[in-house]
């Protein structure tokens, strides 16, 4: 027998190994486990300290994040995997007359090229199926994809995209939602009106309320388009196997919806589509529906290899959904002491080229438009309008932040004009326990009054300079 150890020690494996440090970290104690919860379901009583509220907790996935071990889509690779790039229209409104992909297809390293006419069902969307995977033949905003390329390297794919030539017949375009609402405006989804969803919330009689008011205030507020800018761009890998089954790894929040959309656009039975939701490097509402996935699937089918697509930061800005810009018109009737008797609100949402989650955003914005205030007479109406701009969709709050900015700014204006303290005018109007909202929902656990008072105490509202 020699003294030579029979098994490889960690030191022997580790010499010269790039994983040395991080492998060692595997032997660390696991991240702190969450506090044990009782087996009996806990029904918290009002005012009772529960085991969850106020406790410091750690995210169970933080350990991997901090070690750089979390595998996001772009960290996955499969043998023979190709890289996809998209040709963007670069024109806001046009008809595609001809697409010439021959120069791209002739490039060494290019394994597949795809255009809109090859997509079995070229439309998708969570509410209306009005968005094409690749525009064909109508381009409705400059970020519309018109062709996709899969090549052995990203660089070759990007070069091939440059070699695709598209002849466009420019069409009229409309960028302002108020202009797009007019009857004679260019119809972006002809023959349908550009007003593609509306909602009205009515309570009491606003005209009567305004007639009884001592004073009436009007205000117009606008917000801008906002991109989610997740640090991780939209990314997916599609593999269409030889058995006709599709596997997609995607950074999508709603994987069941995405699976249904994939099956629909690709005309596949749903049991042939397997969707693997991976770690998401930031969603914020922007990754709630499919985008490039059907195109990647078809490129994979054509090339017989897995295909990865990662949006460039530019794609992310021009071709993913954004937050709706709002135009908000408020009219409020108040008594001399600042009590609100009537409020009418008109919201115009700039929806961009496609619906996405607009109908949801519109609904929530309209329901919340009059604010957390007891008002007997309310009329809120909201309309979302197609324009030839990047499409808008879900983003944190679904329309609530926009109307909040408007009704709170409006409240400040009213308080100033009436010479009432901005905190006081809110306390005179806010919801209480059991208040019914403008849609008739009776509200419970209402602590807005206490919250306002606490906040004012904490930041020294009374002693502000």
């Amino acid at each position: 027998m020699t003294d030579e150890p029979k098994t490889l020690t960690r030191e022997r494996i580790a010499v010269g190994d790039m994983w040395r440090y991080a492998d060692d970290a595997r032997s660390l104690p696991a991240a702190v486990p969450p506090k044990t919860l009782p087996s009996e379901p806990l029904v918290p009583q009002p005012g009772q300290q529960t085991l969850a509220v106020g406790q410091r907790v750690t995210r169970p996935d933080s350990r991997n994040h901090g070690l750089g071990r979390t595998k996001y889509i772009d960290d996955l690779a499969f043998p023979g995997m190709l890289f996809a790039k998209f040709k963007r229209a670069g024109i806001a409104s046009a008809r595609i007359m001809r697409i010439d992909t021959s120069a791209a297809e002739a490039m060494p390293g290019v394994m597949a090229v795809l255009t809109g006419n090859e997509i079995p069902v070229n439309s998708f969307g969570p509410t209306f199926q009005d968005q094409p995977v690749l525009a064909d033949p109508i381009v409705r905003h400059a970020g519309d994809g018109v062709a996709a390329v899969a090549a052995v390297t990203e660089q070759i794919a990007a070069e091939a995209v440059e070699k695709i030539t598209v002849d466009y017949e420019p069409l009229p375009a409309v960028f302002d939602p108020l202009e797009a609402m007019r009857d004679d405006a260019y119809k972006i989804h002809a023959p349908n009106s550009n007003i593609y969803a509306s909602k009205v919330v009515r309570r009491g009689d606003v005209d009567k309320g305004f007639a009884q008011s001592d004073q009436i205030f009007e205000g117009r507020f606008t917000t801008q388009m906002v991109e989610h800018v997740p640090l991780e761009p939209h990314a997916a890998i599609a593999e269409w196997d030889a058995n006709g089954r599709l596997t997609v790894w995607a950074t999508i929040g709603r994987i069941t919806l995405a699976r249904a959309d994939l099956a629909r656009t690709l005309k596949l039975p749903m049991n042939r589509v397997r969707l693997i939701g991976t770690f998401v490097g930031g969603n914020f509402g922007g990754k709630n529906e499919i985008s490039q996935e059907p195109a990647l699937a078809l490129l994979s089918k054509k090339a017989g290899r897995p295909v990865k697509g990662v949006f460039t930061r530019n794609d992310e800005f021009i071709s993913s959904t954004t937050r709706h810009p709002f135009i908000m018109e408020y009219k409020t009737g108040v008594t001399k002491d600042g009590r609100i008797l009537a409020r009418s609100v008109r919201l115009i949402l700039d929806g961009g080229a496609y619906c996405s989650w607009s109908a949801t955003t519109l609904g929530k914005a309209c329901i919340l438009a009059s604010g957390p205030y007891k008002i007997d007479n309310v009329h809120s109406e909201a309309h979302v309008i197609y324009t030839n701009k990047t499409m808008t969709g879900a983003m944190r709050g679904f329309g609530a932040p926009q109307v909040c900015f408007a009704y709170e700014s409006h409240m400040d204006d009213i308080a100033k004009a009436l010479g009432i303290d901005p905190l006081e005018i809110r306390l005179r109007n806010v919801f209480d326990e059991g208040t019914s909202s403008p849609t008739g929902q009776v509200l419970h656990s209402v602590v807005v009054r206490e919250s306002l008072r606490n906040a004012a105490d904490r930041f020294g509202w009374e002693t502000r300079s």
């Binding site: 991080a22 991240a31 901090g66 800018v229 640090l231 991780e232 990662v310 930061r313």
Partner: protein, 170 residues
């Protein structure tokens, strides 16, 4: 093709790559060190931050050839032999990592700061992390975490106590 030899996380590694290859591509695609992230590819977001000779750089803006002969530290090399780096530990405990995508770059920028300045003010931290964007946390937890880590690193005793508090109860 360009021959590049760099010391990554203590190991000498060589590769022959096209001259336009960035350090980020070299690390991710050739060396499979995917902890370093690609966020914007134009040097704005800092997700690709690595330390080159101790200095925080955007790996997407540095050519692999420019790193030839240098020492590169990526997130895979930040944990110690038997424990996490104090920054990793504090980030984990304090919720400074949410989706985690900015984490590797954020941690390495913070390490470069603390190596240089063991007692940074909140302003110093914000300044040092100005090139690292995060969309989840709102930055306040990150700044607090770097301060906590700095405190722990200045006083190893505190560090041991914390270790006990965190892991000693199971």
């Amino acid at each position: 093709m360009t021959d590049v030899t760099i010391t990554v996380n203590g190991s000498v590694r060589s590769a022959s790559v096209p001259p336009e290859t960035t350090l980020l591509k070299l690390l991710r695609d050739v060396f499979q060190l995917t902890g370093t992230k690609l966020g914007c590819d134009v040097g704005d977001c800092g997700a690709c931050t690595v330390l080159v000779d101790g200095m925080a750089v955007n790996a997407c803006l540095m050519l692999a050839a420019q790193a030839d002969g240098r020492q590169v530290l990526t997130i895979e090399g930040l944990a110690m032999k038997d424990r996490l780096h104090p920054l990793q530990k504090v980030f984990e405990e304090s919720g400074a990592l949410q989706c985690g995508f900015c984490g590797p770059g954020m941690l390495l920028s913070a390490k470069a700061l603390l190596d240089d300045n063991p007692d940074p003010s909140s302003h110093d931290i914000r300044d040092a992390l100005a090139g690292n964007l995060c969309r989840c946390t709102g930055y306040s937890k990150i700044v607090e975490a770097v301060q906590d880590a700095a405190r722990a690193m200045r006083d190893p005793r505190t560090e041991d106590t914390r270790q006990l508090e965190m892991h000693g109860h199971d």
